[in-house]
Amino acid sequence: MADKSKGSGGDGGRQPEMDATEGNMSTPMIALQTTDDGSDELWTAAEMEDATPCDILEIDDDDLAEDDAPTETKDADGGTVVEGGAPDDDAEAAEEDTQATSGGYNYPGPFTRYEVFTPYTQYPYRAIGKLFFKRGGRSYVCSASSIGNNAIYSAGHCLHAGNNSSSGWATNVVFVPAYRDGQAPYGQWQAKQLFVRTSWYKHGISKGLAQDMGAAVLHKKNGKKISQVVGWLGFAWNWSKYQHWCQYGYPAASPFNGRRLIANHSSFAYHGSVGANPKPLGVGSDLTGGSSGGPWVLKFGTANYVNGVNSYRRKSKPQEMYSPYFNNNAKSLFDTVRNLN
C-alpha cells in the first residue's frame, strides 16, 4: 500500500510501519468517520448487540514455553556471566546530586529476615555456602559464595586477622556449598590460596574496614571446578548505593545456630563512618556472627550479582549490618581470584 492516492482515509493510507529500534507496529492513519445526520453514534444498538465475541487466542504449551524462555546471558563456561553493568565511575557522584535527600532510613532500617526453605541444592542457593577455617588453634565459621572459575568471595576478616602479619592468615579453609544441618551435599572444597585487600591486611578494624573483602581460590574436586558443580553468582560494582539487596549467610551466634541458610532483604539505609568515600553501606539486618562474608545479592532470582558482603556492625545497634561499597577495589580482588587456577 505504498500508493498514498489509493488510501481509504483523508490522510491517505500509510503503509504499516515498524519502529525498528522499539519493535512497535502501527496501522495506516484511520480517518474520522461521520454519520449522515452528523451524530457521533456510529454503532446502532442493534449492531452492538449483534457483534460476535472476538475469539480468545489459544496457544499450546509448547508455544508458551518457547515464548517464556528466559533470556540468560551465558559466558563460555555456560553460567551466568559477570556482567554487572558497571556504570560510569562517577555514577556515585551523580547520585549525590540528584538523590542526596531522597533515599535512606534512620536506624533501624527496614528489613525482612527469614530462613530459606527452598532446597539449597537449587541454583542460585547452592552457590552460597558455609566457610570453615582455623585461626589461633580454634575452629571458626563464616559464609561465602561461588563467583566463577575456582573462586569464592567472602569478607576479609574471615580470611585474615587484619594484623599486618603472615600469621594472620586462616588455615585449613574449606567451603561447603548448600550446607544444611551438618550435611554437605556437594562436599568440602579446600582453599588453595587466600586473598584480601592489602588495606585490610595491614590495618584490620582500625582503618581497613572499608575494604573488608576477601576471596579464595579453591582446589578442584574430582577434576571439577567449584563453579562447574554449583554454578556461580555474577558480580556488580560501581553501582548506585540506592539498591535493594538479598543478604545471605549462616549466622551462628545467638539466636541462630548456623545450621540453616538465612535470607535478609533490605535496602540502603545510611553510610558507615569509616574509610574514605565511598563509605560502607548500612542496611537493616539482625544477622549475627557466622554470617560474615555472606553475599549481598543484587537482582536476586534474575541476575544474581554479588554487590556486597556481610562485614561489620555497631555495638548498640543489633539491627543493622554494613558492607564495603563495591567499587573498583572489589572488582580488582574479584579479577585476581577469577583468573587463577
Binding site: W169, G182, V196, A252, S311, K315, K317, S332, T336
Partner: protein, 48 residues
C-alpha cells in the same frame, strides 16, 4: 604476595584432612567486627 592493585595473597594453603561432621558443628562463629557507637548520619554532608 601483593599486587599493584592493593590485593594481598597468602602462601599456598597446606592440604589437610577434611573436617569431620563433629568438627564442623563445633566450630564457633567468627566474631563480627563491631565498632563502638558513632555518630552515624543518615546521609553524608553534601560537598559544596
Amino acid at each position: 604476595m601483593q599486587d599493584r592493585k592493593g590485593n594481598k595473597g597468602s602462601p599456598d594453603q597446606t592440604k589437610e584432612k577434611p573436617w569431620t561432621k563433629e568438627e564442623m558443628e563445633e566450630a564457633e562463629p567468627l566474631p563480627m567486627p563491631t565498632l563502638d557507637d558513632e555518630d552515624e548520619t543518615k546521609e553524608p554532608k553534601k560537598k559544596k
